[in-house]
């Protein structure tokens, strides 16, 4: 088990390096291959309405004319150890992990980005707990009552949930519960450290809206998984032993049905931590999703690059956690 984890960790580090290379390539190599020269490339790093001296300064500052491996080395070193930028006589130090400076605010990207993480984290974790519990229990009940009214009703809702976009359910819920009946007025993020009750109260609507989408998906997945495992031979063995039906369902059925669900859950959560874009925009929550949208709107390349790397990082880590989880529950993976 320990060697398995170590192997996975090494693999993850390798994967992160590959991810950084690909991200680097997307931002610096592909434009070149597409025929842009370094001046044009530099122009994109100046923001909107670049002036010629500013572009030349950036080109020099970022060393865009250097060979690519040097640039990549600098890029990686910046992330790991920080970087020194020379603009004229003064040298600015950008502490690690350094993703450069935003064009707009002229502030380092990383601290800004990181200050938005708690919002996304609160949103994602709360919603994911809701949808995991809700989706899985509805899926299990549906599978056990296959063909009944309950099954058809909940699968109908689930179909609606999968097909309704968040901006629709989100706006409807805002309209109803924030304006018409102001149960949750003025939804805005309040840090959990300053007031946990307000934190939760403000997040209830976004949690439910986001969870609804996923719960619907998870209910369908769980139902399908449960139906499949409950017809396995080992379930018949469990019953033949004389186990109470509840134990047959939970210990033997659900355990096996949940494993793929948890895998998908890990990936979904990892993806969501990189920013729940539509939900954050709908509820004006300033998390990584909104950060991304603004960065794209402003063509703020260092910010886009930073948030891309961060999102990729979350997914890679989620992958690692899922792998280890899988090895814990499924002994066949370990050997």
């Amino acid at each position: 088990m320990v060697t398995f984890i170590i192997r996975r960790l090494v693999g993850t580090i390798f994967l992160l390096i590959v991810v950084s290379m690909i991200t680097f390539a997307i931002f610096f190599l592909i434009p070149r291959l597409a025929g842009q020269n370094t001046y044009q490339l530099a122009a994109q790093y100046v923001g909107r309405n670049p002036t010629r001296p500013a572009v030349l300064a950036v080109e020099r500052q970022l060393g865009l004319a250097d060979p690519l491996y040097l640039q990549y080395g600098r890029f990686l070193r910046g992330i790991l150890f920080g970087a020194h930028y020379r603009s004229g006589p003064d040298v600015t130090y950008c502490p690690p992990p350094c993703f450069g400076y935003s064009f707009r605010s002229q502030l380092p990207v990383w601290p800004q980005m990181i200050s938005d993480v708690p919002v996304t984290l609160s949103l994602a974790i709360g919603a994911s707990i809701l949808w995991l519990i809700g989706g899985v229990s509805i899926g299990v009940l549906s599978a056990l009552r296959k063909g009944t009214l309950f099954d058809r009703f909940s699968m109908g809702i689930a179909l609606a949930g999968v097909s309704l976009p968040v901006f629709f359910t989100g706006l409807i819920s805002l309209e109803l519960f924030s304006y018409k009946w102001p149960l949750f007025p003025n939804v805005q993020y309040v840090p959990i450290t300053s007031n946990p009750v307000e934190w939760a109260r403000n997040l209830v609507l976004p949690w439910i809206v986001l969870a609804f989408l996923y719960a619907a998906l998870y209910a369908r997945l769980t139902r399908a998984g449960m139906l499949e495992t409950m017809s396995e031979d080992y379930i018949r063995t469990a019953r033949a032993k004389g186990l109470p039906e509840r134990k047959v369902i939970v210990k033997h059925g659900l355990r096996a049905a949940l494993t793929p669900i948890v895998t998908i859950f890990g990936m979904d959560l990892g993806l969501l931590l990189g920013g729940a874009i539509i939900t954050e925009v709908t509820f004006s929550l300033h998390g990584l999703g909104l950060f991304t949208v603004q960065a794209v709107n402003n063509q703020d390349l260092p910010e886009i690059l930073g948030v891309t790397m961060l999102a990729a990082f979350f997914i890679v880590i989620a992958n690692l956690v899922v792998d280890i989880f899988y090895a814990v529950v499924d002994p066949r993976v370990r050997f």
């Binding site: 031979d233 080992y234 063995t237 032993k241 109470p244 096996a256 499924d330 002994p331 066949r332």
Partner: protein, 358 residues
Amino acid sequence: MPDALLEVEDLRIHFPTQDGLVKSVDGVSFRLERGRTLGIVGESGSGKSVTSLGIMGLHHGSRAEITGHIRLDGEDLVAASPARVRELRGSKMAMIFQDPLSSLHPYYTIGNQIIEAYRVHHPDATKRQARQRAVEMLDRVGIPQPSARVDDYPHQFSGGMRQRVMIAMALCNDPGLLIADEPTTALDVTVQAQILDLIHDLQSEFGSAVIMITHDLGVVAELSDDILVMYAGRAAEYGSAADIFASPGHPYTWGLLASMPRMDRERLTRLVPIPGTPPSLIRVPPGCPFHPRCRYGHLNGGRSETEVPELRDTEHTGHLVACHLTAAERAKQWALLAAGKVPEDARTGAGAHAGDTA
């Protein structure tokens, strides 16, 4: 007659489906005493598994219609509550299945699974006692180094070893009845004999009654005291193994014997497959269910097609046959067949054709 451990009387298990009522078991009766073995044979789909699952109460109770009596130690399981049947399951009756690869849960150690089986019926046993019992059982079924292997997972065992584990699990509560549903079909030929020997040894040691289900008459030949031949959810022939092998009475049994390669019956050199395929259990043929495939039906002057043959003991020897042929006719035809003469009756052509397409 000594008290039977298991008495099945006119058991019917029907499944309502969209296509119609599937009569998987349709009026089957047999009895089994402690320490004895009943072999149930028949082609695929003849209702062997449904019969045994019905005894265990594992036949999808809510969806199936079950009537008749299943008396285990005098207690009627058909009338008993599901909770009571669950209590008996694993403690007084246990079952092992065809595919030991998929019958064990892949996520739990075999020790865990045996301990679980033991503790449901011994709620006062400590974990240590249950574990000790598991190791003891593994040792008994011939798993080497049982105290180490008890912590291994199913995928670390070979198919034969897994079937041994299943047997250990089934017998850990010392049940009076063990049902083995084709326990060797999925295993290598070399392993098959070992597993059968093991079941036989354990049976004499534990004194349990065994139902051995198979479509291979060779398997039951050596192990069984009695044999029940099933066809289309009904009993075709029922009697002692000695009687059935010496003088089989039903043309279907003849077909099973003739399609079985056997060393000790050189006279039957030619393998004769049964023509055609088993009937649909929704539309069972009228009259004798076997008549569309039978080479002797014409000898009964139309009765085979219209009248359902009763399971009768014509000689009063305890050997029951469900066929309209007279005892003398049966003896004559079997003698001919055993001499290697396959009857060339009017329907052989059609039958052989059906056999080709089957």
